[in-house]
């Protein structure tokens, strides 16, 4: 049981951030499923998750500011609160990008995708693993395995490059595929961005825990 009002406030913020991270992860997985399965209910669910993430992020922001004003945290406590504000924004941004993917999914209610999705779902599950690494570190207040994060981020970059080349060749062969290929290209691009954000989140946790700056990109 935390002892001081500061510690209680920090624990509350920590659990909200963990919940927000879970929402972001779910939004990413759900948005790619919505696209792959052309499931409009799942796409609509992503919208809901995005809205939840906005509200939660705002709440974390308010709580953190209040804690800073009233408890004046310093040193590791200051780094913690600052990290929570930033990480909360990161997760909210991830949910935003997932919603953009869901928007693209909604265009395919009545028609087929250009091609069956293989690498894009792989990107999504890799992201889910990265967010889990972040969340576990936040939960246990330890540095995440940054090597693993970098490895996964590199994998995302590779998959993105692969998808990019594949889609460009589609477009070159048949310009009528440009619309659909561009959609998938955007999806891959969003996922690649999400991977960056998840990796940066891990680096932020390292600073929070150890006061040491690391670069993951």
């Amino acid at each position: 049981m935390p002892r001081t009002p500061l510690e209680r406030g920090m624990e509350e913020i920590r659990s909200e951030v963990i919940r927000l991270g879970g929402i972001a992860k779910q939004a990413v997985l759900m948005s790619v499923e919505a696209l792959k399965e052309r499931d409009m209910q799942k796409a609509a669910r992503v919208d809901e998750l995005e809205e939840e993430s906005d509200i939660l992020n705002l709440h974390i922001d308010e709580n953190s500011l209040k804690l800073m004003a009233l408890q004046q945290p310093v040193a590791r406590d200051l780094r913690f609160v600052n990290a929570m504000i930033k990480i909360s924004d990161n997760f909210e941004r991830i949910a935003d990008l997932a919603q953009k993917i869901a928007e693209i999914a909604k265009k395919y209610e009545e028609r087929e995708l250009l091609k069956p999705l293989i690498d894009i779902p792989r990107m999504a599950s890799t992201i889910a693993e990265m967010i889990e690494l972040d969340l576990e570190a936040i939960e246990r207040h330890v540095s995440p395995d940054t090597e693993k994060l970098v490895e996964k981020d590199d994998l995302l970059d590779e998959l993105y490059a692969q998808i990019y080349n594949e889609l460009i060749s589609f477009m070159l062969r048949d310009p009528r595929t440009i619309d659909d290929a561009t959609d998938l290209l955007f999806v891959a691009r969003y996922l690649e961005r999400i991977g960056d954000i998840a990796a940066k989140t891990g680096a932020r946790v390292v600073y929070m825990v150890e006061g040491r700056r690391v670069w993951v990109k």
């Binding site: 945290p73 310093v74 040193a75 006061g211």
Partner: protein, 249 residues
């Protein structure tokens, strides 16, 4: 960062009590340096070694060097009276001389040092201490009628009147309310334009607000010294972190 005072291997104590243990530290010129640490860790003893008033306590001893502009104040040819003029001090409890008028409190030092134009020095010092407007019509009154914050600013004026280069503050706000405290803090920030300031404080937020550099003392040792922002965001030593986050002991 150019240093005004260079402390090298300073040890000090009272009789068999060894209080300060091998302190080395550079105090930057025209900056505010805060000394923080738990009660009894030697903060007061440390600042009192910087102007040779520690040795005035019977049984007190000092070893090591304190270089003021490069010259050791403990050299045999150094004049302690001159050291104390150059390095002034303001104490925790406002301690104006109660039997003297406000004017005479400030004029006392300059008169001893044979200053000619005492009136001008008193006015200047009271202005620098941001007290002139409040007392100019009652200079002949006793300081007893002043508020705690005003008395403390009077003590600052008294310290300024002998034209020091360094001013040591030993917990100058601990007897003051928040408004009076804010005035003293503002004053300290103004004074650093022309003076080098060392301030002992047990108020972490005060150190964070006004100090450029912060030194953390623990049981007579200097644990950490660095830029205040760094100490309060990312201290290097676990003991510093535990102390400033209130998780000590």
């Amino acid at each position: 960062m150019e240093s005004k005072i260079e402390v090298v291997g300073l040890n000090a104590g009272f009789g068999s009590t060894h209080v300060l243990k091998n302190i080395s530290l550079s105090i930057p010129r025209n900056r505010v340096t805060a000394i923080i640490g738990p009660s009894g860790c030697g903060k007061s003893t440390f600042v009192r070694c910087l102007n040779r008033i520690h040795e005035l306590v019977p049984g007190a001893w000092v070893r090591g060097k304190v270089l003021l502009d490069g010259k050791n104040i403990y050299d045999s040819d150094a004049d302690p009276v001159e050291v104390r003029r150059r390095v002034g001090m303001v104490f925790q409890k406002p301690n104006p001389f109660p039997a003297m008028s406000i004017f005479d409190n400030v004029a006392y030092g300059p008169r001893i040092h044979g200053v000619k134009d005492v009136h001008r020095v008193v006015e200047e010092s009271l202005k620098k201490a941001a007290l002139w407007e409040e007392v100019k019509h009652r200079l002949s009154h006793s300081p007893v009628s002043l508020s705690g914050g005003q008395q403390q600013r009077l003590c600052i004026a008294r310290a300024l009147a002998v034209k020091p280069e360094v001013i040591l503050f030993d917990e100058p706000c601990s007897a003051l309310d928040p408004v009076a405290t804010a005035k003293i803090e503002e004053l300290v920030l103004e004074l650093k334009e022309n003076y080098t300031i060392v301030i002992v404080t047990h108020n972490m937020q005060q150190a964070a607000r006004i100090a450029d550099y912060t030194a953390f003392f623990l049981m007579g040792e200097l644990v950490e010294f660095g830029e205040t922002a760094e100490i309060f965001e990312n201290p290097r030593d676990k003991r510093t972190e535990d102390y400033i986050t209130g998780r000590f002991g």
